[in-house]
């Protein structure tokens, strides 16, 4: 089955079928005829031929920092749902949190005709990132972080953490914070800022020992909590930058004979599946990861269709879920 056969059966010219397949103008009557024949015959147009004709690959490159992350998988689910509806396919590039690999992928995608656009789920931006980005010839949307001067979709990490901390400070006077590296602006710097500002608003200045930088996992959360407990035995709250860190912190408290939340309140961020079923269930902030992925994909599609217009930064809302890990 090819385009000639479709044209013959529909009783239209080959050029009309080609225009139909490539979104050119075709009268409604002929459009109906052609779509009926295509349905009947199950004809699938050659992607390669379409690319030659339109210069479009109908591929979008999505660069992700890691595979085994609920937030990343929710964002990717949002991205693919929108792109699939618009006949785009996704090429996933996993960088395993290695920013050099991230830059390599950007450079790879930047080459002509590889992809029509890129969504970058980044954790930090180095000079190499900025250089690679400036050489891109296809539209880019940054997801999960703000990159000044570029289209981006990110979460309101600051206010989410501010609200969580304020909740904890209704009954705690010795709060502590397990955060991640400040080079990660969203999860690191903004969440830490939200914690400190909420403390400040409540008239509390946490001692330097109460603030620890850990990695994104439960083990690291455990050791961080242990160090805090060691330095500040009277600590009565551990506010954590992610749910995983909070699980580690809670485990540590329980092993040291502290009761959660009676002795120590614990909060996370992310509203992961486990946060609902852990004992005690974890107070956390829901960040709309899937919706942010959908927004990023919509924004990218609008840029692929037409360039120009002001830079857009979309800041997603959040919800705080007060569960049983706080008093």
């Amino acid at each position: 089955m090819d385009i000639n056969e479709i044209a013959r059966r529909a009783g239209v010219s080959r050029a009309t079928v080609s225009r139909y397949l490539n979104n050119g103008y075709v009268s409604q009557e002929k459009r109906d005829l052609i779509s009926r024949i295509i349905r009947e015959t199950g004809y699938v147009p050659s992607q390669h031929a379409q690319q030659l004709r339109t210069g479009k690959t109908r591929l979008v490159g999505v660069v992700i920092p890691k595979i085994n992350s609920q937030s990343v998988s929710r964002m990717v689910a949002g991205i693919t749902s929108v792109l699939a509806n618009n006949n785009y396919q996704v090429v996933l590039a996993n960088t395993d949190n290695d920013e050099r690999v991230e830059v390599d992928y950007l450079n790879l995608f930047a080459r002509r005709n590889h992809v029509d656009g890129i969504i970058l789920i980044a954790t930090q931006f180095t000079k190499a990132h900025r250089t690679a980005i400036s050489h891109l010839r296809v539209p880019l949307v940054v997801l999960g972080q703000r990159l000044a001067g570029h289209d981006s979709v990110f979460h309101d990490d600051y206010h989410a953490m501010f609200d969580l901390t304020s909740l904890v400070l209704r009954t705690s006077r010795m709060p502590s914070f397990l955060g991640v590296l400040k080079e990660d602006v969203s999860a690191g710097r903004e969440r830490r800022r939200g914690f400190l500002d909420a403390c400040h608003a409540a008239g509390i200045t946490p001692p330097p020992d109460a603030l620890r930088v850990v990695k994104f996992d439960a083990d690291s959360g455990y050791f961080g909590a242990e160090q805090i407990l060691d330095a500040i035995p009277t600590v009565d709250a551990i506010v954590c930058a992610t749910d995983d860190i909070a699980f580690g912190a809670a485990m540590c408290m329980i092993e040291y004979g502290k009761r959660v939340p009676d002795d120590v309140q614990i909060t996370g961020v992310g509203d992961s599946l486990l946060s609902r079923i852990s004992r005690p269930s974890l107070t956390t902030a829901h960040l709309p990861y899937k919706t942010s992925g959908m927004e990023a994909a919509r924004l990218l599609l609008s840029r692929i269709e037409s360039s120009g217009g002001p830079v857009q930064e979309i800041i997603m809302g959040y919800e705080v879920y007060a569960r049983n890990s706080i008093r």
Partner: protein, 325 residues
């Protein structure tokens, strides 16, 4: 059972019951009493009231407040363009510079059959934030960010920062920055902060920066700049928070120059890139915003909210273009 009987039972007016049913303003106390009365009687609102509640009117209420005329015009043009094309009409309330009037306008819109409210305002949002939470229709705010409400705004801080770094200042430059000094205006605060940060970035000594409060009008700005330059004429840059301030500054500078009282000609920059000012004063460094696009985006957000396709609260911050540098 009628609206009137529910009103009697709850001890409120029937207008209050109607407002309750249609998402209008009501004190929490009355709200509770009416809810209890409805619950008790199993009252089902009449067809008419139900229409009011459930049927879409395909009208969006727009409240324009505390925004300059040019911005309002362009933003509402964008709003209307998109809304009309999507089959919505608009009801527009212009309330000037008055927070009470803003609240009243929002309330009266909420009492009518509208599907959503767009509030265009860079000034303080009605303290009655609950008004938004109570509103049974979606709300979009244009001009600033309010937590838990959908917003469309401009990155004024980034714009002021970039403008300050592209003026060509050297560490020795003497710079005056003039704005309305209105600490209630988030716009004013972010713009000043961005500008001062930008100057620091290019190494301008903080001691060489003068912050001037210039009111809201061309003449108040004129007076402030004239007074400043009469005291010390030695400024390299006079940067203005709005084109209104820039117009006043340019007038003051020209007068003093013509009187031969200005030892050094300062460079004036504006904010907003008003074509009239550019035409009269010549091209000056400024920042351009796409106000119409802002209106279009707000309308897009509103229709998604009305149709229920919006899945989360979000803010959209739009970029800018530095011109004339």
């Amino acid at each position: 059972m009628t609206n009137k009987e529910v009103a009697e039972l709850a001890g409120v007016s029937s207008a209050a019951v109607s407002r309750y049913l249609n998402g209008g303003y009501l004190s929490a106390e009355k709200r509770e009493r009416i809810a209890a009365a409805i619950e008790q009687t199993g009252y089902v609102p009449s067809a008419n009231a139900r229409i009011l509640r459930t049927r879409k009117s395909n009208t969006v209420g727009v409240v324009l407040s505390k925004t300059d005329a040019r911005t309002m015009e362009a933003v509402s043009a964008g709003l209307e363009k998109y809304l009309y094309a999507s089959g919505y009409g608009t009801t527009i309330a212009y309330v000037g510079d008055d927070t009470m009037a803003e609240v009243t306008a929002m309330r009266s819109l909420l009492e009518r059959q509208i599907d959503g409210i767009v509030l265009v305002s860079t000034g303080p949002v009605p303290g009655d934030i609950e008004l938004f939470e109570r509103a049974r229709v979606p709300v979009v705010i244009v001009g600033q960010r309010v937590r838990n409400v959908n917003c469309v705004l401009f990155d004024v801080r980034g714009a002021a920062y970039d403008l300050a770094t592209s003026l060509g200042c050297t560490p020795q430059s003497k710079v005056a920055y003039i704005d309305a000094g209105d600490r209630r205006q988030s716009f004013d605060i972010h713009r000043r902060r961005g500008f001062v940060e930008g100057l620091a970035q290019v190494g301008v000594d903080g001691g060489n920066v003068t912050i001037l409060t210039g009111g809201f009008t061309v003449s108040s700005s004129y007076n402030a700049v004239r007074e400043l330059l009469a005291k010390t004429g030695e400024f390299d840059y006079i940067s203005c928070a709005t084109d209104t301030h820039a117009a006043g500054a340019i007038k003051a500078i020209r007068e003093l120059r013509d009187l031969g009282q200005l030892p050094r000609m300062p460079k004036v920059s504006g904010f907003g890139n008003d074509p009239i000012l550019q035409a009269v004063a010549g091209p000056i460094p400024s920042v351009e915003f796409d106000y119409e696009e802002c209106g279009i985006k707000a309308a897009e957000m509103m229709t998604a909210l009305i149709k229920g396709t919006a899945r989360s609260i979000m803010s959209l911050q739009l970029g800018y273009r530095i011109v004339g540098v």
